[in-house]
Symmetry: C2
């Protein structure tokens, strides 16, 4: 991005900030909580790229540089936003495991809740998540999501792998959906309008090529979903397939035992 390169981040300071109390007000009433909330509101509407420190400060009626008293920089701010966005994912650490349908029902619930958060806050996809994996809400999330997988005969590593697989699927699908929406909004064209606009060029340009199966399948998909992609369908199709696969693994484990 523009500006000087990001200062060397201090991981320990970031961690302390994540776990700290965000409610202590300064002289003008400014708090970390208020900064994070304002930033989330802006990012929900415009995305992370469009979010600027100046915009956040303006919304809080505060000088831009005042933010830096409470937050070391934009990177740390997005980390805080990330952890906060997952703050009310679950009522408590047992909510997923209390769902009906055993581990399968629990994973379906987990997938649905994650999907909802990602849809409400599409900017989450742009946050580098490695650093924030130890925030308070993310930690609680990990505990809540592992519990339904405990005691099924899986090893600890397998429990983590199974959860990661489901979450990666939800994230990837939600990301594609968010991108689709954003592309539509940026261009001001619906999928159908866009298609109509490029259609003549496309036939010209592809006249020399011959892709029989891609043509047939692409057409079928387009007619079925009115689009090249239906994220909701991709989510459930993939989840069903993944859970079927995990069923085999879990059954083989309990059979061995």
């Amino acid at each position: 991005m523009a500006g000087r390169k990001a200062a060397a981040p201090d991981p320990a300071r970031s961690l302390a900030l994540l776990w700290g109390s965000h409610a202590k007000p300064g002289r003008s009433g400014l708090t970390v909580r208020a900064i994070v909330d304002a930033a989330i509101e802006l990012a929900d509407a415009e995305g992370l790229e469009a979010l600027s420190m100046r915009m956040v400060a303006d919304r809080l009626k505060v000088g831009t540089m005042s933010l830096y008293t409470h937050v070391p920089g934009k990177g740390e701010l997005t980390d805080l936003m990330f952890d906060r966005a997952y703050g009310d994912l679950y009522a408590d650490a047992d909510e997923p495991s209390k769902q009906p349908g055993g581990w399968r029902g629990a994973l379906e619930f987990i997938a649905r809740r994650n999907w909802e958060i990602l849809t409400a806050h599409p900017w989450i996809h742009e946050v580098p998540t490695m650093r924030t994996a130890l925030g308070p809400n993310i930690t609680r999330k990990y505990e809540a999501e592992l519990r339904p997988l405990d005691g099924l005969g899986l090893t600890d590593v397998e429990m983590d792998s199974a959860l990661t697989l489901v979450l990666t699927h939800v994230q990837g699908t939600a990301r594609a959906g968010a991108e689709q929406l954003r592309t539509q909004r940026d261009s001001g064209l619906t999928d159908e309008e866009w298609w109509r606009q490029i259609s003549p060029t496309l036939t010209t340009v592809m006249s020399g090529t011959h892709f029989p199966i891609a043509g047939r399948v692409g057409t079928a998909v387009g007619e079925h979903f009115q689009s090249a992609l239906d994220p909701a369908h991709a989510l459930t199709f993939g989840l069903t397939t993944i859970l079927d696969g995990l069923t085999q693994l879990i059954e083989s484990r309990s059979a061995v035992q």
Copy 2:
């Protein structure tokens, strides 16, 4: 980003550019191909964010604004880079279906090749892919990847869904791996050093909490992989599970028929 907001893009022009000949030189020998190649080289090393039009122009010993004679803007340039990166994915449109092991072997091959490309060009994750889905190389890729799924009893929509599921998994996993590498490079710390650095703060801060399963599993994963995440393991675990799930679907279809 900085600068004026991106000009209203013309989809038809972008499409024509994607399919056009990129070898026609201008007065100073500048070609679209050369611009794209230079940009890919730079992005491979530094990422898409760090890639600037000025850097590309400097590398080609050309004025910055000369690039705009050949390419409408940075967005279209990344589209071209994207399509080009997938240029030599497969020798021909039948390479995946010729792999041993039937459809399962073919999908494993597809996953592996996509993984290799994504690992070689991590900036691909930052390119909005919706627009480029109709570039020449992406179209050929789609054809090549659908062929091994044809004639198994799946509907056209199911063929697309199955492929999308596998590709989403590979992308999500590769993205996590790329992020891990980038975080390490940016911070200059290995996973282990980073962990040691935050460890005291972490115990202080988490002293009041109690997450038994997260603690147990997290520790097991960390010891097993020397890291919170092993992308290669996540890839194969997920792929196996997904293919097991798809096997059930395909068998049920051929049984019905």
